[in-house]
Amino acid sequence: MSAPAPPAPAAPPPPKKDTLTIVFDGKPIEVPPGINLIEAAKLAGIEIPHFCFHPRLSVVGQCRMCLVEIEGIPKIQAACTTPIKDGLAVKTTTQKVRESRAANMEFLLINHPLDCPICDQAGECKLQDNAFGYGEQRSRYDERKRQYAGYDRTAIGPHVVADMTRCIQCTRCIRFCQEIAGTGELTFLDRGGRTLVWTHDGKPLANDWSACAADVCPVGALTTKEFRFRRRVWDLKKTPSVCPGCNIGCNISIEDRDSVVYRFLPRLNPAVNDYWLCDYGRFLSESLNAREISKATVREGSDVRDAIVPAAVERIASEIRSTIETDGPSAIFFLGSAHLSNEENFLLRKIADHIGCGNRDVVVDRSRVRRMKSKTEWIEGDHAGANYAGARDMGLSPGPGGHGLTDVLEGRWIPQIVVVADASFAAAADDAEKVGRLRGARFLAVAARTANSLTRAADVVLPAASLAQKEGSFTNVQGRVQWFQRAFLPPPPARAHWELLLLLGVALGWGDRNWTPAAVRTQIREEVEGYDEVTEQELAGGGLMKKGLFVSTGAV
C-alpha cells in the first residue's frame, strides 16, 4: 500500500489587479472595473459613436449606434451594454463594424428632416457628427418622411421647445427626468413609426433642471426657447466660469460672441454639478449683458457729473483721508458682496485693515433652496450670491468693536462714509428705506454695472465689470474654491471690481497697481486660513476644497 501523495502545495494566487486589460484594435489598455466599453474605449482614445448612452443615465441599448466586434462572439455587439471583463479583445474598425454603423445611420436618417442648415442643434449634434463620421453619403429612401403636425416646434415647458420630427428616440431626455430630476414628466407616446416624446396630458416639462433635457438630447428635438436661433454654436467662444446664481457654484461655460453672452452651459464637475445646471442659474446668462452704468460719475452739489475713473477713485480716497483726520477710521464703513470674488472681497478687507477700520460686512439674501445633483449626492444652496462663504472667509465681518450692515440699516449707527463694493449686493440695495439709511452717511461710494436706488443715491459711482468680464474665485457651500475666467474685457472705462478696489487701495497708500487676481490669491494663500493649499493648478482643474481637503475631480 503506498502512502497517499502529499497534497501539492497550493499555487500562489495570482496577484490581484485592480484594473482590467482590454485590447482595442490590437492595442491593450488598463482600465478601471465597473465601466462599459464606450467609456473604456474613450480612455484608450478611441471613439465609439453612440446616441443613447450617457455616463450618468441608465444604459438602455436603444440606438444601436455603438456596435463593435468582440473576439469570440460571432455577432456584432452593442458596446454600451457590454460590461467589460479582463482580456476582452474589441475591434472597432473592421468592415463589419463600419457597415453596421452605416446601416444604422441610414435607418436613423430615414425619418430625419436633414435640414441642418435651419436646425439650431447643427454644430453640436451627435446625429450630424455621426452621419458625417460613420454614415454613407446617400440614402436609398425616396419616400415621404414622417411629420408630426402639432408636435413640432412646440414649447413643451417654460424653457424647452420640442420638435418631434427631429427625435431619434434615444430616451435620454426621458431618463434624465426620471433618474436625475426624479420628476418623470416625459415619456414615449404611441408606438412604432409614430413614437414621440411628450408629457402626460400636455402638462409642462417644468422641473427645476428642465433645460438639461435639451442638453442631453443629442439632436435638435429639444432645444431651449432662450437660446434657439440666436447664434450658430460654432460662432461661440467658451470660457470656464462659475454660476452666479447661488452658493452651490455650479461649473459653467460662458458662451459669448463679440462680447455678448448668449448662454451658460454646464461644465462637467462630478463633485459639484456633474453634467447639470438648474434652469434658474442657466438663464441668468442674459442678465450679464445688462450695462446701465457705463461711466464713472461724481455728485457735486445737486449735479451729477461724468468723471474719469482715476479721478472718481481719487475723490473717494480724499473723502476717506479727510474723514480719518476729522473723525478717525471708525467713521467709515466697507460693504463687500457675496457676488464678488474672494480676491475682491480680500482687497476690500485689506483696505479697511490698512486704514485701521473694523466696520466691514457682507450680507446676502436667502433664496429658495436650490438643489443640484453631483455625481454622488444632492447639494443644497440657499444663498442668492455665489460667494458668501468666500466673502466671510476673506474677513468681511465686523472686526472687534466694529459695526455691521444691520447696525446701519436699523439706525443704530450712522457712518460718515460708506463704500459699497457691489451696488447689487442684496435686495436691500433697491429698497428706498434701506438705501435711505446708507445715504445717512455724508459720503456714499459704490461700484456698479446696473442702476438701482443705491446707485441713484450715491455720490460716486464707478463702472464695474460683469462676471463674464473678469477673473477670480468663489468658495461654494462645500468650501470648494473654484476659479472663473474672463470671457472678454469690460467696455472701457468699466473695470473689474478688483481693479477698482486696487486703484482705491493704491490711492490710500496700500497695494500695487500691477497686481493681478493671481497675485492677490498668493496673498490669500498666505493670510487666509484654509486657503494655503489652493494652488493655481488645482483651481484650473475644477476646484479644490479649502482647508487642504483634497477631493477628486476626475472627469468621466
Binding site: Y148, G150, Y151, Q178, T183, G184, E185, L186, T187, F188, L189, D190, R191, R194, L196, W198, T199, H200, D201, G202, K203
Partner: protein
C-alpha cells in the same frame, strides 16, 4: 382606433376604483415583485371598471402604482387594446390585415359602415356599437376574421354580420 391621439387622454369623471376593483388590484399586486410590474393588469381592471381609460383613471392608476402619470400614458398609448375614449356596448373589431383583406374584409367593413351609419373609430348614436380596425388577430385560416368584444366570429360575411348585429343587446 384608426388614428390614435398622441398626447392627450380625454378627461372623464373623477376616477376612484369601487371596492371590489380595489380588492382585485390588491390581489394582482400581491403576485408581482414590484408595483410597476402590475401596470398592465391594473389597467385592465380600470378598463373593465369604466369601459375605457380616461385621464383621471390613468392618473389614479399612476398614484396607486407610484409611477409617473407620464409613464402610464406611455404604456396606454403603446398598446392598442386599451380604449382611450368611451366605446359603445360592443366593440366591433375588423381585421384588415393581408389574409382577411384578400378574403373580402374591405367589403365587409363597407357593409357595416353603411348599415350602422358610422365610420371607423365612431360609436352609434344609441351607444350600442363602436367600429374599429385591428391588425391580424391570428384568425387568418378562417378569414375574414373579426372580434366582437372578446369573441371571435369567423369566417364572417355580411349576412352573418347583419344577424349578429340584430341579436346583440
Amino acid at each position: 382606433m384608426t388614428s390614435r391621439r398622441y398626447a392627450v387622454l380625454p378627461a372623464g369623471r373623477p376616477a376612484e376604483f369601487p371596492p371590489d376593483a380595489r380588492a382585485r388590484i390588491e390581489r394582482i399586486l400581491s403576485r408581482y415583485p414590484t408595483k410597476q410590474a402590475a401596470l398592465l393588469p391594473v389597467l385592465w381592471v380600470a378598463q373593465e371598471t369604466w369601459g375605457w381609460i380616461s385621464r383621471e383613471a390613468a392618473e389614479e392608476v399612476a398614484r396607486i402604482l407610484e409611477l409617473s402619470p407620464a409613464h402610464v400614458s406611455g404604456v396606454l398609448t403603446f398598446y392598442t387594446m386599451y380604449n382611450l375614449e368611451p366605446v359603445g356596448r360592443h366593440l366591433l373589431q375588423f381585421c384588415t390585415s393581408i389574409s382577411c383583406h384578400l378574403a373580402g374584409a374591405g367589403g365587409l367593413l363597407e357593409h357595416c359602415r353603411r348599415r350602422l351609419g358610422i365610420d371607423l373609430g365612431q360609436t352609434t348614436a344609441d351607444g350600442r356599437f363602436t367600429m374599429v380596425e385591428v391588425e391580424c388577430i391570428a384568425g387568418c385560416d378562417r378569414a375574414p376574421s373579426m372580434m366582437i368584444d372578446d369573441a371571435y366570429h369567423e369566417p364572417m360575411d355580411p349576412s352573418k354580420l347583419d344577424a349578429l348585429l340584430e341579436s346583440l343587446p
